[in-house]
């Protein structure tokens, strides 16, 4: 039974990271119907930014509450700015052209950022220990790591904050309106460009937080780190129902848990194959995702 709970903790902390990234995919899809493939690179570059901020603030030598907070907020701000820049330079000029053009641009931006980072930052960097790394032995074979607690806590706080922004603020209402119908929202006097830029900033800053947590936990960062995480997070967003914010969280937690339990109880060799088969089965029964709205194509 301790193994079960240990795997539960492992799966939840993995799912929490997926959730933070999946939100960026789902929010952008909600407003633009675009799968923003560059999102995984925003995550990756956030990790490198965390490293440079940690060096700059001296947090890598002597992590204090103030300097580590500065690193995480700085990373989120950097990612928000990066997301907005990508939207402004790469997507906005193409918004009137077909969705396929946008998609290919997104892939191009992703490659550019990945290879650019490889060129500038090198293939691998080790990441300093910025957060207290303690373990609590809850039972024989059941350990709770401080990183898991921090990951879950940060994710939870950001979820609550996001929920508040989307449901309770003027900008959140505008976001929901644009996601419902961009043209109608524009007719009602909503500045669609600003709302889309804000959506990118919000989603990217969450990816920045995920990047920070991931980098601190894994102690190594590389330009390829976004590819795999991005793919998993994208799958989580689709599973939860792309465009749905609670859906992305549910999908991510489910994906984290299914990966963990498949490799823990069935076979780690075929982990991805089995985990993804489960997801396909879910999608067979709920084609628009777990919490996705069934929306007929507008003709």
């Amino acid at each position: 039974m301790t193994v079960f709970f240990q795997q539960l903790i492992n799966g939840l902390s993995l799912g929490a990271i997926y959730a933070l990234i999946a939100l960026g995919y789902t929010m952008v899809y909600g407003t633009l119907q675009l799968i923003n493939f560059a999102h995984s690179e925003v995550f990756m570059m956030g990790a490198f930014m965390s490293l440079y901020l940690a060096r700059w603030t001296g947090a890598d030598q002597n992590p204090t509450v103030a300097s580590v907070t500065l690193v995480i907020l700085g990373t989120m701000a950097f990612c928000a700015a990066l997301g907005m820049t990508i939207e402004r330079l790469a997507y906005r000029p193409l918004r009137k052209s077909g969705r396929l053009n946008l998609l290919i641009t997104a892939i191009g931006v992703s490659m550019l950022l990945r290879n650019g980072t490889l060129l500038v930052c090198g293939p691998l960097a080790s990441f300093p220990t910025l957060l207290p790394a303690a373990q609590w032995q809850l039972a024989p074979g059941l350990t709770l790591r401080s990183m898991d607690v921090i990951t879950l806590a940060v994710t939870l706080v950001l979820m609550v904050l996001l929920h508040h922004i989307v449901e309770r603020t003027q900008m959140g209402r505008a976001m929901r309106a644009v996601s419902h119908s961009r043209d109608a929202a524009a007719l009602m006097g909503i500045n669609v460009d600003r709302v889309i830029a804000f959506t990118f900033a919000l989603g990217s800053s969450l990816a920045g937080a995920a990047a920070f947590l991931r980098a601190v936990d894994m102690h190594k960062i590389d330009p390829e780190m976004g590819t795999n995480m991005g793919l998993k997070a994208f799958v989580a967003a689709v599973l939860g129902g792309i465009g749905s914010i609670p859906g992305a969280v549910v999908g991510a937690i489910l994906l984290g848990l299914s990966e963990t339990f498949v490799s823990g109880y069935l076979t780690s060799t075929y982990r991805d194959a089995i985990a993804f088969c489960l997801l396909i089965i879910i999608l067979l029964f709920r084609p628009s995702g777990i919490l996705g709205k069934h929306a007929p194509e507008k003709v």
Binding site: Q7, L118, P123, L124, R145, G264, Y265, R271
Partner: protein, 402 residues
Amino acid sequence: MRFLPLLSSLAGLALLPLLGACGGGEALPKEIVVGQYGSLTGAQATFGISTRNGIELATDELNAAGGIGGVKVRMVVEDDQGKPEEAATAVSKIISQDRPVAVLGEVASTNSLAAAPLLQTNGIPMISPSSTNPKVTEQGDFIFRVCFIDPFQGGAVAKFAYNSKGLRNVGILKAVDADYAVGLAQFFTDTFTKLGGTIAGEEAYKLSDVDFKAQLTSLLAKNPDALFIPGYYTDVGLIARQARDLGFKGPFLGGDGWDSSELTKIGGDAIIGSFFTNHYAVDDPNPVVQGFIEKYNAKFHEKPDGLAALGYDSARVLYGAMAEVAKDPKMADALSDRSSVPATEDARKAARAALRDAIAKTAGFGGVTGTISIDAQRNAQKPAVVVQVTAEGNKFVESIAP
């Protein structure tokens, strides 16, 4: 008017590329082209960089001493990002553009396996410095290596674990998409169970993974004395950290894929005290080894790892074989490129075949990583050393003979 000859020679220089294009490039110096492919970027970048440095050192030494019969060797290096599909592309490019007489590379067996068939069909000898999976040289009679192979390495780790450390119950966590790791896990299991030990459990991960807690949780539930991790340094450091986080106290064991200065940077305290088999130990008092370390350190300002040493040895074995072939003046001409009368394709083919025969005859070659003799399967018969990871670097523990 003394500058006139200078001026005319400058004008001549400017015309050289044109002449070359016309096929009359007589003024171009002769050179022997050798290809090299490796992971200069990507997840296992230190593998490729160390190997390239080792090869560069050997090539510079050779050229400083006059090259092969007065002809210098030019090394063409291609990056494969540590990906098998890129390795095949890189080697195709080298073959078609640079017409090398031989190719050196790769470190990771999966990448060597991707490129070896191309070199075999083109009849170009390849020496892998450090791919230890047996399948690599099975690709054909043009494919060689200067390192030991995994059946021996896996057996050496198993013997060390069972005999020297008294371990009886070992768990395995392997990278399922690396031929190297899968093979090594199998050979370790074979020897370890034959000795009387038991495998507590075996779990797998993928090279792109960074979260191993699920696999580790189910492995550690079976209470192994030690964990055998036949992977690469990038994963091993993380696995060690996460295993310690989950409360594992025993030692970690591994193979030569651990060999990188990055290992302790990623693994931190968790990896200190672990053991792995390697091709050489930095603290080996042998003057050949210490001489190499000194030269390498002077050029690259760091201690060479085993891959740098193997890169150096692979290049020197190749140059030794070239010197043998070049004793025949006709062959010497066919080896080099840009000669006044370009060698015909048949002559180059003959030269490459002669080079292959010369590499196959390598015996008792005094390398940094031990005495290299190429056997009938084109593998090197060499002892392995077991080293312990410490905060000050890897320390020699014992040597295990084949």
